[in-house]
Symmetry: D2
Subunit: 110 residues, 4 copies
């Protein structure tokens, strides 16, 4: 497997990890905590980030060049979600997963 | 409902229509016709376009500003899919759905 | 187009309509209203219903017999979501979309 | 973490692994090999299996009891996909991922 393909595999893993972390954190931690955690703009962004990560992984698994566009979008959305999770606080796992996914997606979008 | 919201509704409809057209065309017309219709690069792009349209509609339904990024990606991928369907030929419904979705997504990404 | 195919088209439409209604109601009406609308069990079921409807439509668009299984699952989940939306109250659009989708999916699962 | 939750985590992992294996095998191995690998009924079932696995993982990540229904459907579709991959041949990774996912889903559906 060549270096490009190892990068893509790492990005697929980062996207699916971020998808799982954001979706389960929203549905468990955020819904149970309430307050700022279910503030509409924050919660919507969590779900949007989960969906975009899932779609980016899908395009990379398909193996089409179109992944450059989905990875570019995913990098932006993950960065925004990481910032918002930091603002809300007590969301360390999401912040870490989003930052890592944003980094990996940025590389694949280049 | 204000003009912005009517634009978004039109874009959601365009995305879901393009999703349905690309996925069912790939799974019926392309698989049954074979030849250039199942050429890997073409078929993968059809499936990638379907997925990206589905994800863009999802982010707009969620109602988050993050849809700007997914719509920008979707516009690029739909335009590429339309071009490739024209090249392969006998894919008029996909070409039309992709061109329309690209136009609507470009407006929402602005 | 034969009667079977018209039934399937109606079921695809019902699934995508229920998907859109549940997802946007959860992300707009429920998150904005709070209280019982963001009670974890209720909100999770709304998101689960949206996902199952989306997947059922996908399998029917692909045109595989496997849709019988996804439609059976979708009928059960839509019925449960309709009941829960009635319990919470002020969710008439979701109740109607879920009941209709459950009916259409039950026919396709038979 | 109690035993039930460890079972669910194992099932989520099995579903996402089967999703990745079926989608990338269809888009790479099957499209490149052609012949029986792009026979419509086989290829559609591969894509249907990928989608159902993805949806089942999603419902378990959400943490709702509705996963019982999606896992029941997923077990049936994975078993059918494993059988069809054995019939076509040269699909060992898919057969293994589908059989494992069917087993895990059957436990979660009970």
């Amino acid at each position: 497997m060549n270096p490009m393909k190892m990068d893509m595999q790492a990005c697929i893993d980062a996207c699916l990890d971020c998808y799982k972390t954001c979706l389960s954190s929203a549905s468990h931690h955020c819904l149970e905590a309430g307050g700022p955690h279910t503030e509409p703009a924050h919660f919507r962004l969590m779900l949007a980030c989960a969906e975009m990560c899932r779609a980016s992984a899908h395009l990379m698994l398909l193996g089409t060049d179109a992944h450059r566009h989905s990875c570019a979008a995913c990098a932006e959305i993950c960065a925004a979600c990481a910032d918002d999770c930091e603002r809300v606080g007590d969301m360390d796992a999401c912040v870490a997963a989003c930052r890592h996914c944003a980094d990996e997606c940025r590389k694949m979008a280049a």
